[in-house]
Structure formats: structure tokens, C-alpha cells
Point group: C2
Chain length 211, copies 2
DNA sequence: GGAGATACGCTACGACCTGTAGCGAAAGGC
DNA sequence: GCCTTTCGCTACAGGTCGTAGCGTATCTCC
């Protein structure tokens, strides 16, 4: 796994305790809920997990990487059921994402680790691999499904298709995060309906002129 | 100003040094560029500014509020010149915003203070007043200008108009931030053209069906 | 020109967090 | 059983936070 500092794949010696792994990640989420990002300390997490502080440092180099791993699993919940139309699919996944951002552990941690990643390339890569890519797959799946339904034209230029996928991803994820954390307003059904209508309309207009 | 802890509006006693104010804010930006958010310390800033550490604490309660004030002035640069069309206006302001986010001091600080604000209501209010509202005005101005040109229908329902303004703001600001800081890809002219085309198309489609 | 009030620089301090080192004991593979 | 690695524990140096206390400087009001 990418979650832990590589123990050299050694087949010899005492193996790492998986109970400790899960206890630490669980304790990290609990500490995030209770203390928030800035007041969370490694010593506190160790205490909650019933583990020595040195055990944490054997697995994660610092607080940033620990928190990324602790939060990443929550993004496994995101799914994209087929609801029959592009707009319905978008609304559903946005509401899911919003519910995730409402949780105090993600709310306080997500922006913080992204902020740290602006000066920490390995951390950025870790975030991309364990969180961002997991979301991006939903955009790809939604677009392909819409094409199969005929809601969007079949792609001709794969480069343009990739660019549009990237754009839609940044727009959706960015808008939801900004609404929830910066504007601090609810990501509720009416707002989501407006957002998805804007996107579907914009994509339709672009397709009409041959984008 | 909202930038400093209120000295009780006292007309008596030695007044606070405005040179110290500007020196501190300037030192804070320099420290952000050089050290980034997480390694920036109050003592370091004080040293750079040629000021005692206690002088910082007389003005700002903590690092968060100091950094917000230090970065806020950069957002004064944002302007909305009339370029003749809604799409051109959007593209111009987005590129301005992107250039601001490219600066290392905003890049490292903006997400960090927003993350802190999820657990600090006064800080959120400070961010809203000194940064967010300053950006939001541009959306209002751009929408009104587009209505005067006839690119968008004159508003009938003011509630719906406000909701659309909020939506567009979160979409634009969120998408740019997400592209720049999470996806870590360049906010360049081609991308901005795609974004603004999506928005203009979406707004047009919404207007066509009577939103 | 005092008197009062406030800001300033400086030093010192306790409390806390970080990340590492060293120890003996535990738990696996060969 | 031997080797290797992890475990919990303790201790530690280094750094930061935020405050207190001091004497000095600067401004307003009388």
C-alpha cells in the first residue's frame, strides 16, 4: 500500500500490526472531528490509538501524510449509479460529494493538506493518487454514459475530450468546495440543480457549435 | 481598519506606528514567499520587520489573522475593464485571478487560512470581508454589464438573480482555485476560453428556457 | 510644561509539540 | 533456537507559542 512508509517488503522480522494501522487512522479521524486540523498533534493521535508515538513515525513521516491517508478512505463512498440522465447523475454525485465535505473531519483536513501540498510535491502526488483520481473517475464514467445515451455527441478529438473532462472536473469539484468552505453556504438540492443545469446547458451549447 | 486589534479608539496615549504596520505586513508576505505557510512563525516575521514579537501580538491575535491581512491587499489589483462582451470580461478577470494565485504568497496562504476558518468563525468573517466580497463584486458588475449589453435577459426575479450570481461566483472562483492548486495545472488562455465558453453557453441555455 | 495614557523594544519564561535515540521485550520467518 | 524487525516506553534537544514585566518613548489633554 501507499499508505505506509515502505518496510522494505521484508519477509523477515516481526510484521507490522494491522490493528495498529486501523486504530491510528481511526484515531486520526476522531482527533480531526474533535480538535480540527491545526490542534491535532501526533502525540494526541498516538494516545487515542493506544500506540506509542514512535509507532506513528515508523509509518508516516509527518502529520500531513497521516491525515491524507486517514481521510482518503472516506472517498471510497463516492459512487455513480445510473439515474437515467446526465443531469440526474451530476446532481447525485454532487450531493454525495457535498455530504462528504459536510463531515467535520474532511471539512477541516482537505483544504489544509492541499495548502501544504503547494510546497510539498510528494504530498501533492499522494493526494492526487488517493483522493483526486478517485473523484475524477466519476467524471469520466458520467461523460461516457452520457455519450452512450446520446446526450453528448460521440467524441471525435480525444484531446478535446480530455480537456473537457478536466474542465468539468475542476468546475464541479471546485464549485462545490468553494460553496461549502469559502462561501460557507449549504450545498442543497436547489443549488445543485442550478449548477447541473448550468453545466448541462453549457455542454449542450458547446456541442451545438461543434466543440 | 479591520486589520488591527481595536485599540479602543483611544485618542490619548502613544499612537501605533503605521510604519510598523506596513513593515509587518510586508515581512509577512516575504516570509510566505520564502518559507511558505507552515514554516512561517511569528518570531520570524517580527525579526524581518525589525519589530518586537510583542508588537505583532498587540495587533493580531494569531498567525491566521495576520496572514489574511497580509494577503488581502493583493486582491485590490483585481479589476473588471469593459472588453465588449461577457465572455471577454470573464476571460480577463479569470486570468487576473489566476495570476494572483500563481504568486507563491497567495498560493500557500489562501487555502491554509480557509482551512483554518472552518473552525474559526471570526476568521471566516475576516476572510469574507477582506477577500471574498472583493471578488464577488466583480461578478455582480460583470452580470449587470452583460444585461445592459443585452447578452443576458433583464432580471425579473431578484431572488433568482442573486442565486445565479452566487452560483457563478462559486463556479468561477472554485474552478480556478481547484485547477491551480488541486489539479496543479496551468490556468492558461485555452483553459480559460473553455471555461468561459461553458459558462456563457450555460447561462444562455438557462435564459432560453426562462431561468 | 506636566500628567496621564498608551505603544515600544527587550528579556525571560512555562507550556507545548516535534522528531529522534536508546532500551528491553515481543513476534514473526528460517 | 537464531535472526530480524516491530513494539512500548522514556528521555531528550530544538523550536514555537503567547504572556508578563520592565524601562523607555511618544502622543493628548489640562
Amino acid at each position: 500500500m501507499c499508505s505506509r512508509t515502505n518496510p522494505r517488503n521484508s519477509r523477515t522480522g516481526r510484521p507490522r500490526s494491522t490493528e495498529a494501522d486501523t486504530a491510528i487512522l481511526e484515531a486520526t479521524r476522531a482527533a480531526l472531528v474533535e480538535l480540527g486540523w491545526s490542534k491535532l498533534t501526533m502525540g494526541d493521535v498516538a494516545g487515542r490509538a493506544g500506540v506509542a508515538k514512535t509507532t506513528l513515525y515508523r509509518r508516516w513521516a509527518n502529520k500531513n501524510e497521516l491525515v491524507v491517508d486517514a481521510v482518503a478512505v472516506l472517498f471510497d463512498e463516492l459512487e455513480l449509479p445510473d439515474l437515467g440522465s446526465l443531469q440526474a447523475d451530476i446532481e447525485h454525485v454532487v450531493l454525495q460529494f457535498a455530504a462528504l465535505l459536510e463531515r467535520p473531519e474532511t471539512k477541516t483536513a482537505l483544504m489544509a493538506v492541499v495548502a501544504e501540498s503547494t510546497r510539498d510535491e510528494p504530498l501533492r502526488e499522494r493526494i492526487r493518487a488517493s483522493i483526486v483520481d478517485r473523484q475524477k473517475r466519476l467524471v469520466l464514467a458520467g461523460r461516457e454514459r452520457a455519450q452512450q445515451r446520446g446526450e453528448l455527441p460521440a467524441h471525435r478529438d480525444p484531446v478535446a475530450t480530455d480537456a473537457t473532462d478536466d474542465l468539468i472536473f475542476d468546475v464541479i469539484a471546485g464549485a462545490v468546495v468553494h460553496r461549502a468552505l469559502v462561501s460557507a453556504e449549504p450545498v442543497d438540492a436547489p443549488w445543485v440543480a442550478r449548477l447541473s443545469a448550468l453545466l448541462v446547458g453549457g455542454l449542450g451549447a458547446a456541442a451545438a457549435v461543434g466543440g
